[in-house]
């Protein structure tokens, strides 16, 4: 058991974890932030995607030690107070989440995209989400939601 210090969703957190823990395991089982999901154990599906220093990162293949001293943002940290992030709201409006299991990771990839590109084309959205597998939607409604959110953020 070792002590790790993380800044997660703006909070400074301290947590004891086995030395082999990934960032995902620490978030889920150490800090109780179960929004980030484990779908494949090895970086294939993207359900574990979180934002580290502004970049979408696969937390299931990130040793927790790599996140020390960095700014970690998870799905639980996307809303501002009681106001959902426009991407979250548009996911809800557009039916972009069916089973919802891939959703936290896709939201994080989308927010990381929109933070650096406020007016992405549909093709740029497709490319930004290429590391996130969704098995329910066929992706169309996810693109619709990200496009609508970009419009709201731009407006």
């Amino acid at each position: 058991m070792e002590v790790v210090r993380l800044r997660v969703n703006g909070d400074q957190r301290v947590c004891g974890v086995p030395s082999h823990y990934t960032l995902l395991e620490t978030l889920r089982y150490g800090l109780g932030l179960t929004g980030s999901k484990q779908g494949c154990d090895k970086g294939d599906c993207g359900a574990c995607t979180v934002i580290v220093d502004g970049r979408a990162v696969l937390s299931c293949i990130t040793p927790v030690w790599e996140a020390e001293g960095k700014d970690v943002r998870t799905v639980e940290g996307l809303a501002s107070g009681t106001e959902p992030h426009p991407v979250q709201d548009e996911f809800d409006l557009n039916g972009a989440a069916q089973c919802g299991f891939c959703t936290p990771g896709i939201l994080c990839s989308s927010v990381a995209l929109l933070d650096r590109n406020t007016a992405p084309t549909r093709e740029e959205i497709r490319t930004a989400l290429a590391g996130n597998l969704c098995r329910c939607t066929g992706y169309e409604k996810i693109y619709d939601a990200v496009e609508a959110a970009a419009e709201r953020l731009g407006g």
Partner: protein, 801 residues
């Protein structure tokens, strides 16, 4: 969260339709809620990370379980020594098959598996022992300390070899001496004069087809938690689609009073049929919890999900299809071998479905199918989205394309000519009511610019069409009983809130939202005032599960039934207050309003309070059961029977690179007759998700296993989400949904299914588009670059090389 309007567009006003059993309302001019584009009730929980899936649940003192799996495809278990594992510090309990020696199976007539193998393993990955330890690391270390002595047996990996075997050891003991224990089920059914119809045909098209196995790959791996309490209560949380069937099987196999067993189904992270029967982990967490007194969780690894499987059966199919020179079908004859894997699972039903569900949307004067399901030493196959009918639909729709080609008839026109119609019976005596298939054909023809494209695009580009039908629920439950298929309970409180107790399984399809929309429609309650408690066998009435596309139709009707009971009480109480007739009291927009006098109104809360004062605590149950006169009387006639059938047509447009064999699907137009779209957003989501999944099977996915000379017999070829290639955003074509509403006479507001039907035509539409593009027939799945490249070369069609 104020100001989150839930509706976006006015509803489509449809013509009145006859009453069903609590179904469509013949007098209603307009629906207030149904038909609008609405949010889901759990949409924000899922978009905020707050939805709690099974693995998100942490219980105090919880142990981690793991299952030891067979490295052999077929072997006798000679001995298991668990003593070293038990001695490892941190290990609390170890179980083997001998601790749970009761067979189970989702179909009561074919119970052929144990929670853990007792004396024989039948596929690489079959569970042989399980343990619970203080943490996951200890559990994994302890698995290595269990010593199993196996005596290997010859393995059957090919279904034809399994069927041809004449002596044991078979994969299962024959049910009668002298029989081949490698056969699960044989079905042969014939309707009409099959040989005569072929002899009289102007054209007989024959073809051999192979549909490779594929698997569901929900993004959430299976997970279960067991908790046993000193008073005898046993609770199992599980990512299941069938809490009721799991409840029954846990009680029976573990010999616990069913009244002491509680199954809780948290939100499920995708299922598609892959979580629709009990799995080893559910029995193991329950047993280990009973032994230790501690909660026990097992989460499958992704590799275990691939081995648990129960996905699409590989089908070897031979079809003969006869037609007149005008393109009218005269007779259809099919021979099918199903590769079932190691256990029966739903296989008895799959074997029937392989033939029974082909008899619409086209009229067939004569039809015969002969289907044999073989056991093989691979993970068991079962139901995947479009259970048992996706494979024959592929073959049959390619056959139709060949007939159209040979007779120089446009493929859409050929399908129109053979349309079976509405309010009719199929050749195998299934009752068909509403049928919007022609409108589906019209819609995809128009949207895709079919007439401008078919046969007119340059070499390498093409379009293809296909149609299909699917059941809206099975007419009978998997165990015979006369009770309702679906039940619901509503309860109204003094604040105006309505609580819905639903036994149905929310697996992402939106069932919790569906019942909310119905309660809002019937009682006029704002959507925000409706709460749903679902999937808890201690508190919710029985619904049989999220399978066979049954839930909207059956639970929806049950919900209308319950809501109208409450509505009647409220109308009666308010009418008494106002001195008017009950039917003059309208419930809408959060108000009770007098018809023709909108100045006379009261908030719904007051109306509910009046009703509670008059009748006592306000609540009602509702239920739905299927009509029993919708099928024939021959043996097997009930399988394939459904209260309603959905219809679908697709056009796919492809580009084929003849140099590499690489196929790009540019777009799929999906027209689907869902009866009525209760919320079009959800229906489109089902249509697009279905077409995506069909596309994936057409081009990319293969659930395949190595032979001995490829390494180890029965080893999964690619048990990861990287190597078993499910489509990313970059692979997936553009998808356009075209909703067709035929307003079914018995569906809730006319609704039928939308979750599985729209998968079927993707695959043959793509195959037919490849033909239009490069002139080769793809008769084996998937249409991978090597297969397409070889087909082009074999046909001498390639322009290069």
């Amino acid at each position: 969260m104020s100001g989150r309007g839930i509706t976006e567009a006015p509803p489509t006003v449809r013509s009145p339709s006859p009453n069903g059993p609590g179904g469509a309302d013949g007098t209603r001019a307009e629906l207030a809620t149904i038909g609008r584009r609405m949010r889901k009730v759990d949409g924000f929980a899922k978009a905020s990370g707050r939805a709690r899936y099974t693995d998100d649940i942490q219980l105090a003192g919880m142990l981690h379980g793991k299952i030891l799996r067979s490295p052999h495809p077929h072997a006798r278990i000679v001995a298991i020594d668990t003593s070293r594992a038990e001695a490892l510090p941190g290990v609390h309990a170890v179980v083997t098959g001998r601790d749970m020696p009761v067979t189970y199976g989702i179909i009561p007539w074919t119970p052929d598996e144990y929670p853990l193998c007792v004396d024989r393993v039948r596929y690489v990955g079959d569970g042989v022992a399980a343990l619970a330890a203080v943490d996951e690391d200890t559990a994994i270390a302890a698995l290595d300390l269990i010593e199993v002595t196996y005596e290997e047996l010859p393995a059957y990996l090919d279904p034809h070899g399994a069927i041809e075997a004449t002596a044991g050891p078979y994969i299962h003991e024959p049910r009668k001496p002298g029989r081949n224990g490698n056969i699960t089920k044989v079905v042969e059914l014939a309707f009409g004069d099959v040989e005569g119809g072929l002899a009289d045909a102007d054209l007989v098209v024959e073809g051999d087809y192979f549909f490779e196995g594929t698997t569901h790959t929900p993004i959430e791996p299976h997970c279960a938690i067991g908790l046993a309490e000193p008073n005898g209560k046993l609770t199992v949380w599980s990512a299941t689609q069938v809490p009721h069937y799991l409840h029954r099987e846990l009680a029976r196999v573990l010999n616990v009073d069913p009244a002491l067993v509680r199954v809780v189904q948290p939100p499920v992270g995708g299922a598609f049929g892959g979580k629709s029967e009990p799995f080893d982990l559910e029995f193991c967490v329950a047993k280990l919890a009973m032994m230790t007194g501690r909660p026990v969780k097992i989460l499958y690894t992704r590799e275990e999900v691939f081995y648990s499987h129960r996905g699409r059966h590989p089908f070897h199919m031979r079809y003969r299809t006869g037609a007149t020179k005008e393109g009218m079908l005269t007779s259809v004859d099919a021979d099918i071998v199903l590769d079932g894997g190691a256990y029966a699972s739903f296989g008895l039903v799959t074997t029937y479905y392989s033939g029974q569900l082909l008899t619409a949307p086209y009229r067939m004067p004569a039809y015969r199918f002969h289907s044999t399901r073989a056991y093989t030493n691979k993970p068991a196959c079962g139901p995947k989205r479009g259970h048992g009918s996706v494979q024959p639909r592929f073959a049959f729709e390619v056959q139709l394309d060949r007939i159209a080609e040979a007779l120089a008839i446009d493929p859409i026109e050929l399908r129109r000519r053979n349309f079976i119609g509405s309010d009719t019976r199929t050749v195998n005596d299934l009752r068909v009511t509403s049928n919007g298939f022609l409108e589906c054909l019209d819609a995809v023809e128009r949207a895709s610019d079919w007439k401008g494209k078919h046969g007119r695009l340059p070499y390498g580009r093409g379009v293809g069409v296909a149609g299909s039908t699917y059941i809206t629920g099975t007419n009978y439950p998997v165990y015979p009983n006369e009770m309702p298929q679906s039940g619901i309970q509503l309860q109204v409180d003094r604040s105006g809130r309505v609580a819905v107790f639903s036994g149905a399984s929310e697996i992402g399809q939106g069932v919790d939202s569906m019942v909310t929309y119905i309660v809002a429609e019937e009682l006029g309650v704002p959507l925000e005032h409706i709460r749903v408690l679902a999937g808890d066998t201690d508190f919710t009435p029985v619904d049989l599960g999220a399978y066979s596309s049954r839930v909207t139709f059956m639970l929806g009707n049950a919900c209308i039934d319950a809501a109208r009971r409450i509505k009647a009480m409220v109308q009666e109480a308010v009418a008494e207050e106002w001195g008017t007739k009950p039917r003059a009291v309208l419930l809408a927009g959060g108000l009770a309003v007098m018809a023709g006098d909108t100045g006379t109104a009261m908030p719904l809360r007051e109306a509910f309070n009046l009703a509670e004062a008059k009748y006592g605590t306000l609540g009602a149950t509702g239920s739905y059961n299927t009509p029993k006169d919708v099928h024939g009387s021959y043996r097997g006639a009930t399988i394939g029977a459904s209260p309603a059938y959905s219809f679908t047509a697709h056009v796919a447009e492809v580009e084929v690179d003849a140099e590499t064999g690489f196929v790009t699907v540019e777009k799929i137009w999906i027209a689907h007759d869902c009866g009525r779209a209760l919320n079009p957003v959800l229906v489109e989501g089902q249509m697009e998700g279905s077409a995506y999944m069909g596309f994936a099977e057409a081009l990319m996915e293969e659930q395949i296993f190595k032979t001995a000379d490829q390494g180890r017999a029965g080893l999964h070829n690619a048990p990861s989400l990287l190597d078993y290639r499910i489509p990313t955003s970059l692979d997936t074509p553009a998808l356009e949904s075209l909703i067709i509403e035929s307003i079914d006479p018995e569906g809730p507001y006319g609704a039928k299914e939308a979750g599985e039907g729209p998968l079927h035509p993707s695959i043959p539409a793509i195959a037919n588009a490849i033909y239009d593009a490069v002139g080769v027939r793809m008769n084996a799945l998937p249409f991978s670059p090597p297969r397409v490249w070889r087909a082009i070369r074999a046909a001498g069609k390639g322009r290069v090389g």
